[in-house]
């Protein structure tokens, strides 16, 4: 099994995963789940000094999407994307120390949760709590990387509620007109805090948001890690080819309240039961068993590894000091503490006169006048050309490798 310190890796071109890779997916899913169970215990012991936000039930989306990225790609996780951070090479100790506000945390106690990142090795942009703001930022990462000649993809996530923000629309629109290599994963977990998705968005599929921006989209069963991986692979390949942004809607369910303090009494019991039966981890375990990808011994060894690593990191976090109080006043400005140097992967001479006046291929559509483009018919034609709709039906999205029982079911409409 590949060492987890590696950052992401691409499978074969057709998106089929090897046995080793499937076992690695399981490892990340299990680590995500067990880490959050541990965090829940720490919260009850008052060791988590602030709020606790869980991704229970949504792990397959974080893990499956991030697994489709290459080492040079960039991500900006949201609060329920701990799994993506683990795939990217972060350790449980990073999450534990963040929540426990220790000096050893990636932000040295300055911020909490998944609010940390790394510009240079793991290429992770820290989220902020204002929803949607990562989308224009990641559009900028995608545009900037293309300018530098890097063939990378920028991926970020948003919830169903976050698709209502202005930043979501501004960011997606800019990415679309720039044909920037951005992959946006909309995690439709049915609830924006206490407000059901139907009162947030008047659409059956949030993927339809993509149509307004003329970009490609797909819908996937977010509780099927293999289907999520395949959808992400398709989106990442699309963006990397230069075909513009791609929006994936992953349908799932938030299996806890908005945060740990929220008992989610507003969620109908039968809705919870429905989704509990479709737990992404149990489904993937069944798949691994029925397809004979593993045996009981392999599972036991993987679970033991997760427990061991978590125990080690918990000891580390618990024995870590709190930050020195005076460090509260440090680090507001960058004054000589960082060397800022872009990584050029193209000749810089292309970007200086006279060569810089050449219009790049991706900008060639801008400003071109055609009679068809200003007529209604032309507008439709041009959309069809620039934005192939790649709708994957939930049934198909479940994929040949997922559990037969889940494949037989159509996508649930609970909560609508």
């Amino acid at each position: 099994m590949a060492a987890t310190r590696e950052i992401g890796r691409n499978a074969t071109s057709k998106g089929a995963l090897t046995r080793e890779q499937q076992l690695e997916l399981y490892y990340f899913l299990r680590l995500n789940r067990t880490l959050e169970e541990q965090l829940t215990r720490l919260f009850r012991q008052n060791q988590v000094v602030g709020g606790l936000y869980l991704s229970l039930g949504q792990e397959a989306i974080s893990v499956g999407t991030a697994y489709a990225l290459g080492p040079g790609d960039w991500i900006a996780p949201m609060i329920r994307n701990v799994g993506a951070l683990l795939v990217r090479g972060y350790k449980p100790r990073d999450i534990l120390t963040q929540y426990m506000a220790r000096y050893t945390s990636p932000t040295q106690g300055k911020d909490t949760t998944s609010h940390f990142g790394d510009l240079h090795v793991r290429h992770v942009v820290s989220p902020i709590s204002m929803l949607g703001d990562l989308i224009p930022v990641m559009a900028g990462v995608a545009m900037g990387a293309r300018y530098l000649g890097q063939k990378i993809v920028a991926m970020t996530w948003i919830g169903d509620g976050g698709t209502s923000t202005g930043a979501f629309h501004e960011g997606l629109n800019l990415a679309a007109v720039q044909r920037a290599p951005l992959v946006l994963v909309v995690e439709n977990n049915q609830w924006a805090y206490s407000t059901p998705v139907a009162r947030q968005v008047p659409l059956v599929d949030l993927a339809d948001r993509a149509r307004a921006y003329g970009i490609a989209s797909s819908v996937v069963d977010g509780n099927d890690v293999l289907a999520v991986y395949r959808a992400a692979k398709e989106a990442v390949d699309h963006a990397r080819r230069g075909d513009g942004p791609f929006l994936i809607e992953a349908k799932t369910m938030r299996m806890r309240g908005h945060a740990q303090h929220d008992a989610a009494a507003y969620v109908p019991k039968e809705m919870m039961e429905y989704w509990k039966a479709r737990d992404p981890l149990l489904r993937f375990e069944r798949h691994l068993t029925e397809r004979r990808v593993w045996d009981a011994r392999t599972k036991k060894a993987l679970d033991a590894r997760v427990e061991r690593e978590l125990a080690e990191d918990l000891t580390f976090a618990e024995s870590s000091p709190f930050p020195p109080p005076e460090s509260a006043e440090q680090g507001v400005y960058c004054e000589g503490c960082h060397e800022i140097a872009p990584v050029w992967q193209r000749p810089v001479a292309e970007l200086q006169p006279p060569k810089s006046s050449v219009r790049p291929e991706w900008a060639s559509f801008a400003g071109a006048f055609t009679a068809a483009a200003v007529s209604g018919n032309g507008a439709r034609l041009s959309r069809a050309k620039s934005a192939p709709e790649r709708r994957i039906s939930p049934v198909r999205a479940a994929g040949a490798k997922s559990h037969p029982k889940s494949r037989a079911k159509s996508q649930p409409k609970a909560g609508r």
Binding site: L119, V125, D133, L148, G171, N173, L174, G331, C334
Partner: protein
């Protein structure tokens, strides 16, 4: 050496920085083909191309967000607000994303947000504002307000080279009214340093931006009455050059602060607090403010004229302070 307008000085700074460093890119509304609403970026698309001069949709949040994203890759984007009033549309990206980035997770965001601010051109309530103090109250940002063509060019160069998000408030009243000879050789003006524009011993007049000119006119008028005022151009509001302010107050013992921004929460209040904290014993009179009243910027000429501080008002206030 030909004289250069304040606006041309800005264009020169952008041009020279883009020529010097390919990591400098421009992003904003109508800055490419059109050259900017005030033509601050005229000719730069033809010279530097579509990848470096990026016309965007009307999306201030996306402009700043994308600039921050590009800066994370080591680029140095300069974003234009068509009018600084519209910076309200991307307040969140600036104050929550860019400003807190280095403090929270050690990621510098070397962006510049520049554009025209200020009144005097009958722009009305949405094309005349001085929104600088929203941002002076935001740790992690730098706020620059040049008054001369020389400084507009030199400070913009420093802003682009700075590793922090810098908000650069140009004054549109000055764009084509100020003309100066600029140095032939490469130069920059450091952020965070005020300039003494006129030396004097009787009182200190602190100001910035377009209000430097009525302040200097007032000082000339006061000199005819035998009142010698020292006129200081703050140039940068954040960080504030406390040393220069305090040194002048310790010399003149009297302080008058003039700004075009509205009164409550203007920089004068902060400066008064700094002086009271650190040089109270040196004061021989109250700290006096001449500012706009606490209203939006009105449109009709007699209203706007009433709204804006002027040399006569500064002379009156300074005279009373001098005789205190």
């Amino acid at each position: 050496m030909a004289e250069v307008t304040y606006l041309e000085a800005i264009r020169q700074a952008l041009d020279e920085e883009m020529a010097r460093d390919p990591s400098v890119v421009l992003i904003g509304e109508d800055i490419g083909v059109y050259g900017g609403a005030f033509k601050a970026t005229e000719g730069l698309l033809a010279r530097y191309g579509w990848e470096r001069v990026i016309d965007t949709p009307i999306s201030e949040t996306a402009i700043i967000g994308a600039a921050v994203g590009m800066s994370y890759l080591g680029l140095r984007p300069v974003a234009e607000m068509q009018f600084m009033d519209f910076i309200a549309c991307c307040f969140n990206q600036i104050t929550n994303f860019a400003a807190k980035s280095h403090y929270r997770w050690g990621a510098p965001a070397p962006i510049v947000v520049r554009g025209p601010s200020g009144g005097g051109v009958h722009g009305g309530p949405f094309h005349s504002a001085n929104p600088e103090m929203y941002f002076v109250h935001t740790p992690g940002l730098k706020v620059v307000c040049p008054a001369t063509a020389h400084d507009a060019k030199g400070l913009l160069k420093s802003a682009i080279r700075d590793n922090n998000p810098v908000l650069f408030f140009e004054h549109k009243f000055l764009y084509r009214r100020i003309k100066e000879e600029l140095p032939g050789e490469e130069y920059s003006v450091p952020l965070g340093k005020a300039a003494v524009r006129r030396e004097g011993r009787d009182l200190t007049i602190l100001s910035y931006g377009a209000m430097m000119y009525p302040s200097l006119d007032a000082a000339a008028e006061l000199a005819r009455e035998g009142i010698e005022s020292e006129v200081i151009d703050l140039r940068t509001l954040l960080p504030l050059d406390r040393e220069t302010i305090l040194a002048s107050v310790r010399k003149t013992n009297k302080l008058l602060v003039v700004h075009e921004d509205t009164r409550t929460g203007g920089i004068a209040g902060e400066i008064a607090a700094v002086v009271c904290d650190e040089a109270f014993g040196d004061l021989d009179g109250p700290i006096v403010r001449v500012t706009s009243p606490d209203t939006p910027v009105p449109y009709s000429p007699p209203l706007e004229e009433h709204f804006l501080p002027n040399a006569a008002g500064i002379v009156d206030a300074a005279r009373r302070l001098a005789h205190y």
